[in-house]
């Protein structure tokens, strides 16, 4: 009975966002058909999806893999970087206070403004985009992780003191696992920030990548292809987010 109920809840959790999305697409389809809006401004969703299926392999796949590589490489560097920086900061209140404003500043800076400066120094290389992703994802992972590292109940610290645990043991067996929910919040936000940063980098240093494609299609009034590319970008972010959320469910089992 309980298992059946769990299954129903799980199914409802999957279906609810899909139904909501289908409703938006349906409404958009009706709006475009009824309003007679110019297809160069807002193409019908079925046209956008048609273009996506027909032309993805030919026109978008190369840039898709390029952007995916940028996002994944940058994100994979940002994870240990962000968590490592948070671990260092958590060892000293003063260091933590000194670094936090810089981290917030980094989160606030749009990569669109930083990439041209990086290009001036490094040229139009893929590393510039990866650095942009790292600079955007690392601070958000770090800030959330740091907040998790600070939220340790004093009674838990006393438990570890009562058995004479070392600082390293307290960190690895208490502070780090205790912070896992916040670490995963940072990782999930990091997925979104990585995708946004990669797009910003593409737009500012455009010779390849999905952001460059969006810019090019919009410029030549191929709005349907521009939207199709935006969907691909959104899908990268969503899938990355979902993968991390699934890993979180497997690891953070104590929070329902």
């Amino acid at each position: 009975m309980k298992r059946q109920k769990k299954k129903t809840i799980k199914l409802a959790n999957v279906l609810a966002p899909l139904i909501f999305l289908a409703a938006i697409i349906g409404l958009l389809e009706i709006y475009v058909a009824v309003s007679g809006i110019d297809a160069r401004i807002l193409p019908a969703p079925h046209v956008i999806f048609g273009k996506l299926f027909n032309r993805f392999g030919r026109d978008l796949s190369r840039d898709f893999f390029y952007t995916l590589k940028v996002i994944l490489t940058g994100y994979c560097i940002a994870i240990p970087g962000g968590i490592g920086l948070a671990a260092i900061c958590s060892q000293s209140k003063l260091l933590s206070k000194a670094i936090t404003p810089v981290i917030i500043l980094m989160i606030c800076i749009p990569m669109l403004t930083v990439v041209p400066i990086l290009v001036l120094r490094m040229g139009l290389v893929i590393q510039v985009r990866i650095i942009a992703v790292v600079l955007q994802a690392l601070p958000v992972i770090c800030l959330n992780t740091l907040s998790g590292f600070r939220k340790v109940e004093s009674s838990k610290i006393e438990l570890f003191r009562s058995v004479g645990a070392s600082r390293w043991q307290i960190f690895t067996k208490l502070i780090f696992p205790n912070a896992m929910p916040q670490v995963f919040t940072g990782l999930k936000l990091g997925c979104i920030f990585s995708t946004i940063a990669a797009m910003g980098a593409d737009l500012a240093a455009g010779n390849s990548g999905l952001g460059t494609k969006i810019s090019a299609y919009s410029g030549s009034l191929m709005t349907d292809m521009a939207y199709a590319t935006i969907i691909v970008v959104a899908l990268i972010g969503i899938i990355l987010f979902m993968v991390v959320a699934e890993i979180e469910k497997k690891i953070v089992v104590w929070i329902k």
Partner: protein
């Protein structure tokens, strides 16, 4: 184990708060000693000092013939097991892994220690739940896990800070009887803080009472025979006499 002239002073801004004022007492081997006192009298601080969690400002602790000035050193903590008021289990570890934590910290490896985890779980009636997470357990079961964890590394002395304080009345009573049985079975030295007169009379051999100023004001020998400590203890003459005496003392020190 004996405590000699223990003082604990906390700095609060420009003020100094004396929590423990010249506390001296001893705990006999295999004895079940209870400490009682009003809230804020420093009994939890005293237990933390006994368990090496905090160091005294002044005074010494004598343990196994050695006097320690700055509290119990790390290498001696293996001899102590600490039970907290709230279960204090690690939510991300199963019951088994929570017990395993002490073995990891004390570096106790080998099959005999792994076996001991199951023995301790059996002792507290949780042998069927080794792979359950704390959030899936009831309050009483969590506290039992906390007790099993404190015993798993086979300490000489068990320190308990109001271990049943956060539980409902029925579970509290059940666990008090279980604790008494546990003491009979394991013959460990037990030092327990409690705010319940009945609980103290049921389990202890001696009761120390502190006042609000952080001083020991009474020491009472619990003369109720161990055989009489069962469900009908309430009708035992000695119990009635001691309860009346303790109720009076507790009432007096609250003033």
């Amino acid at each position: 184990m004996s405590f000699k002239n223990i003082c604990k002073v906390f700095d609060k801004g420009n003020d100094e708060i004396v929590v423990l004022d010249d506390i001296s007492f001893f705990v006999r081997e295999k004895e079940y000693l209870c400490i009682m006192g009003p809230s804020g009298c420093g009994k939890s601080t005293l237990l933390k000092i006994a368990g090496g969690i905090e160091a005294p400002t002044l005074g010494t602790i004598e343990w196994k013939g050695t006097e320690y000035k700055n509290g119990i050193p790390k290498q001696q903590l293996k001899n102590f097991g600490f039970v907290f008021q709230q279960h204090n289990l690690l939510e991300w570890r199963t019951v088994y892994k929570n017990l395993h934590l002490n073995l990891e910290i004390f570096n106790l490896k080998g099959e005999e220690w792994e076996k001991r985890i199951m023995e301790m779980l059996k002792l507290v009636g949780l042998e069927a739940y080794p792979n359950i997470y704390p959030h899936e357990l009831s309050g009483g079961m969590r506290q039992r896990t906390g007790i099993a964890r404190a015993l798993v590394h086979n300490p000489d002395i068990l320190l308990m800070d109001q271990p049943f304080g956060a539980l409902d009345a029925i579970t509290r009573k059940t666990l008090s009887y279980e604790m008494l049985n546990l003491w009979k079975k394991t013959q460990k030295t037990m030092l327990m803080i409690t705010n319940s007169v009945e609980e103290a009379l049921l389990v202890s051999q001696r009761i120390i009472i502190m006042n609000k100023q952080g001083k020991i004001v009474y020491e009472i020998d619990n003369t109720i025979p161990v055989e009489a400590r069962n469900e009908s203890i309430g009708s035992n003459e000695e119990f009635i006499k001691l309860r009346k005496k303790l109720d009076g003392i507790v009432h007096d020190i609250q003033k």
